[in-house]
Subunit: 310 residues, 2 copies
């Protein structure tokens, strides 16, 4: 087995990409197991040691909704921090922001929906209503000098409404940016995007003066499309790509295989394309395999499968 | 779960792609299980019923080398045939060609290596020596009115020699075409290709007057790159893509996860891109799931995992 891909410098792509690691939050939130806080802290330490510079740590939503992350305050007290690394925390509302500020958090993320049905189900609000909830959160966070990421879910489709019209995703995304978000992450929450859809959405944003520099992409590998979608996004100039170490958040062969793109598979492609990431792939693979062992099941990442334990 | 992807017509891609199904041959050849001949015949019948128009059926190499396909003659007698569908058979040498002709085979494939080490290990010949072996096979097959595909293994790298120089792959590939092959399938035998490597190789062929119309691509998903590589190939005008139903040939979590690209994941992407295939995706998924059950293990195809039995 190879340990690193061959590098073939590829014209027309960004020189460098920031891998935005979502495993500890989006990944673990969608695992059946409740992971001990010490394991989470070690995971975050390992990811930073492997060279990841943005690691979404946890979520300050009410523990009732996400029991997997009920230890958020404990984790934020216990986890190691490395200079130059950002550790964003998900914050749903002003109460969450208060807690984040009290805990010394400097980077937050808010999460909205592009579709009415998911806004209603996830936030119990309309698409317009979610903006009213977010507006004071973003305003105050900015005043406090925080960096704010906006997540937009269901950018390509949702299970109730079918395909999301591109103009609707662009409109809601622009509203989130207008609140003051530094970055907008376009979520393919149920994995339904294909590469032409991604290109069309990014072109539509660009046509409204939202260039790739303010956008990130967030793919799920439900139908195996995440890496091809990422390639399409890179070809449109995207330089921030979300991924989850070891593919955390999607158990293979589970009832609903809605896993995030595995960070290892992403970094393999980026390094193969000659795109710099600053990530030590071997250390990352070791982390993915270590975490899979903690969860007691194999990682769905192809790279982790191919390289670990051999 | 969705049953079909949303279609977003995507500029710059071929209108139609031929999916070249390799599951019954390349897939089953690399499975540990020996599959009964009736099951193979049913698999081929199901694939044709699902709309696949090229289904590589088996191999006439000596049974000693590939016990999984030792029933080739039986299978060719027993399998159902559908009008308009091609059923190529792998043929290693003149003796294999004799057998193919006696069995009424009309489409054959020969298989060469781009690297010396693999030529030696797989064929016990040098790269030049393999051409001497193939020359009379291709010449006679053409005289007999057969269609001949040339496979070229290790087009991007091999485990012994490292990356294969692009000019070497192009030179050996052109030699195979010069023998009289109708089509050349560029094999990423160990899954080491990344999309920029694919684009560079296809550009190098084009610069030597071998356009995409004479080439096919054949990716393995060892490191999760197969579908992104396919997208890069489509962007270069490739219209024949090899894939294996259910990802046959690579058991997930096996010692060496060297599976072929799953036909279901490929067709999902192609239909999402608005590229026509003529394939009935639902029937194909059912076939992949059915075959996985025959093998007694889950399919590594994400689409089969997501859609089957739910």
């Amino acid at each position: 087995m190879m340990r690193e891909p061959y590098t073939v410098p590829t014209p027309g792509l960004p020189e460098r990409v920031t891998v935005y690691e979502v495993g500890p939050r989006d990944g673990l939130q969608n695992e059946a197991a409740i992971v001990p806080v010490e394991v989470k802290a070690e995971l975050i330490g390992r990811l930073a040691a492997a060279g990841l510079t943005t690691i979404e740590a946890t979520s300050l939503v009410h523990p009732k909704w996400v029991p997997q992350l009920a230890d958020a305050e404990q984790l934020l007290g216990a986890m190691p921090r490395r200079a130059g690394v950002r550790y964003p925390v998900l914050v749903p509302n002003e109460r969450g922001l208060d807690r984040a500020l009290a805990l010394g958090v400097t980077d937050i993320a808010i999460f909205g929906s592009a579709t009415e049905t998911f806004a209603q189900r996830n936030l119990n609000r309309s698409v317009a209503g979610q903006m009213e909830m977010f507006a004071p959160v973003v305003a105050r966070a900015r005043q406090e000098g925080m960096r704010v990421r906006g997540y937009l879910s269901m950018c390509y489709g949702d299970p109730w409404e079918g395909p999301t019209p591109i103009e609707r995703t662009v409109a809601v995304g622009r509203d989130l940016l207008a609140l003051g978000c530094d970055e907008l992450s376009l979520g393919d929450t149920t994995g339904v995007a294909t590469p032409g859809h991604v290109a069309a959405l990014l072109d539509a944003f660009a046509a409204c003066d939202v260039g790739p520099g303010r956008l990130a992409v967030h793919f799920h590998d439900t139908y195996g499309q995440a890496l091809a979608n990422t390639l399409a996004a890179l070809q449109r100039g995207i330089t921030v790509v979300d991924a989850s170490t070891g593919g955390l958040g999607g158990c293979p062969f589970a009832e609903s295989a809605t896993g995030n793109l595995a960070t290892e598979d992403l970094v393999w492609m980026l390094h193969g394309l000659g795109v710099q990431t600053g990530v030590d792939l071997a250390a990352l693979v070791e982390t993915g395999a270590w975490m899979a062992a903690r969860l007691g099941r194999p990682s769905p990442s192809r790279v982790v499968q191919a390289l670990s334990g051999k």
